[in-house]
């Protein structure tokens, strides 16, 4: 599903060069739930951003669904992300000016859907995360766990093949973290969605199919 070959990421300033990722090669199968662990600053999020086509590697190839992505234009990249990928962030990144339903509908706005379809799909996604009774609320009126569930609904509303989650339980207490993890596991199990999750939490990581460890930009496990 996702194939990374010799991915390198170098951050350059005038005086210094920092190697954030060093020759990472990774194959993630369709329907796999993979977690990435490692100390802070080891390149976990950078790797996830590169997989999500939010960032570009300095060297190496990425193939997603057998498609090479290095030659895509800004518009094609946007379309590709919209169709294939869903994102969950540690700090939710919901748009506070919009109600829950509008937040969840967001990925569908960049597709050819009617308002009716969008509402239906967004409500369905919110039902899956148990928040269909909060559609008229604004994000600021929700708890952290509820906000992350809205973010999950937003990530799954377009039925992407891959979900990339960057420390989805990082800002939550363990009970809420477990709830979120349950939702992700069910999503992977029932819908066959491929999930790549960055986490600091060993317990969460052990609930996934495979664990990849990074240290100083290199893969150690």
């Amino acid at each position: 599903m996702i194939r990374l070959q010799n991915i390198e990421k170098v951050y350059r300033t005038d005086t210094i060069e920092t190697l954030a990722l060093n020759s990472i090669s990774l194959d993630i199968a369709k329907g796999e739930f993979l977690s990435i662990m490692g100390p802070s600053g080891c390149g976990k999020s950078t790797l996830l951003n590169i997989m999500g086509l939010l960032d570009t590697p300095s060297r190496g190839d990425i193939k997603i669904s057998d498609q090479k992505t290095d030659h895509l234009t800004d518009k094609q990249l946007a379309q590709f992300r919209n169709q294939k990928l869903g994102f969950i962030f540690q700090s939710y990144h919901l748009i506070n000016d919009l109600q829950v339903l509008d937040n969840v509908e967001l990925p569908l706005l960049y597709r050819n859907t009617t308002a009716k379809e969008r509402k239906m799909l967004a409500t369905e996604a919110l039902e899956k995360v148990g928040l269909s009774n909060r559609i008229k609320h604004f994000p600021t009126q929700l708890s952290g766990g509820q906000r992350q569930r809205v973010a999950i609904a937003r990530a799954i509303v377009g039925r992407p093949e891959i979900i990339l989650a960057d420390e989805p339980t990082g800002n939550l207490d363990s009970a809420m973290g477990n709830e979120i993890m349950e939702i992700l596991i069910n999503l992977n199990r029932n819908e066959g969605t491929t999930i790549v999750m960055v986490t600091h939490d060993e317990n969460m990581a052990h609930k996934t199919h495979r664990l990849v460890r990074l240290f100083d930009g290199s893969q150690v496990q």
């Binding site: 951003n49 999500g52 939010l54 960032d55 800004d74 518009k75 990249l77 946007a78 379309q79 992300r81 919209n82 169709q83 994102f87 962030f89 700090s91 990144h93 919901l94 748009i95 506070n96 000016d97 919009l98 509008d102 967001l106 990925p107 706005l109 960049y110 597709r111 050819n112 859907t113 009617t114 308002a115 937003r154 377009g158």
Partner: protein
Amino acid sequence: MVRRFSKYISLKISIMLKNYFKIAIAVLRRRKFFTFISLFGISLTLTVLMVLTAFIEKVTNPVYPGDKNSRSLYIKRLTYTSKKGWINSGGSSFYFLTHYAGSLKTPVKMAIVSRNTSSNAYVNNKKIVIDIKYTNADLWNIANYQFIEGKSFTPDQINKADRVAVISERTRNEYFGDAVTVVGKYIEADNISYRITGVIKNVPEIEEVFYANMFLPYTVAKSDYRNKDFWGDYSAILLSPSEQMVTKMRTEYEQMVTRISIPDNMKKDFDTLHSDADTYFETFTRGFFGNADNVGYVRFLLFMSLFVLLFMLLPTVNLVNVNITRIMERSSEIGVRKAFGASSKTLVYQFITENIILTILGGIIGVILTIVILQVINSSGLIPDLDLNINPLVLLYSLLACLFFGLLSGVYPAWRMSRLNVVTALKAQ
């Protein structure tokens, strides 16, 4: 196929616009202070521009009673210049106008009116100031004064130097009280009694050529209208047979003026005599921006354009500034939208649309403010009998200018936003 494609495109646009509108309103509501500053800037600018143009329009294009302006030319000033650089300017004499302008072949009519002189009248120990204008009979034919009662004095009455008067509604009310028929009654000014022949609807004071509270035959004026000096207190309005003939009438006057020799008593100090037949608008531009040789039209346009540009530039720069700040605040939203499928171009459109919505809102508030302010000015009596209106064309241009500046103030911030890296944008929160 084409139909399906166009349906798809229009569906997509309507979804986007609805969403942009929702976001724009939400953002405006959340950032109340910024919204207020932006809207305040836009609406105030627009209001000042529209009130100003309403005023300029009234000054430069009187609808009442000068309804034949497109066929008229005005002779207001007579200027002597010398090679030494001396310039001396004043009104024309009755003699100059009848003798020279009166000899033109193109005009079908020529009204000659004096500058207003103030006179005091006392009613029940209350002082009333009456602005008096002396005129010939053609004023009543060229200007379309509305008579509330009675009619104008006749050429025969003028020739016989009858002490007759046409007064304004205001003077009638002040002198005789409201709702009284006054035709045939006498009104006293400067200790002379005049018999009233008619009462006209008030004319705003800024319409200098047409305005007076009391019109009297030129033959009863204290200064002798037969005096052969060129300088005097009078102006003339020339009426051409048609709009097309106005240019011919102007050329004829200009050529005639070049043939006039300077009176002997002026020859010692001056070499040239200037007098122009201008349109009503040109009398305004020449007065403020021109001189004897220059009608001042180009200078007026340049001045106005520069003024409008500078005036509109201020809220634009302010908007650019506010928008950049807003972008930085919304970088997380930008990151999220990009992550979930918005291209840079889509975001640029979104941001520009939001900005246009803001400027249109400002425009609407500006129009409402203008209507209110014009009403207040009209009813305040600050300038008596002034009736300022919104000019639909000015309104249209102002709204277009608003849109243009809205676009302008949105493009740069939107361009900066579109270049924002997704990862950086997401990290900003």
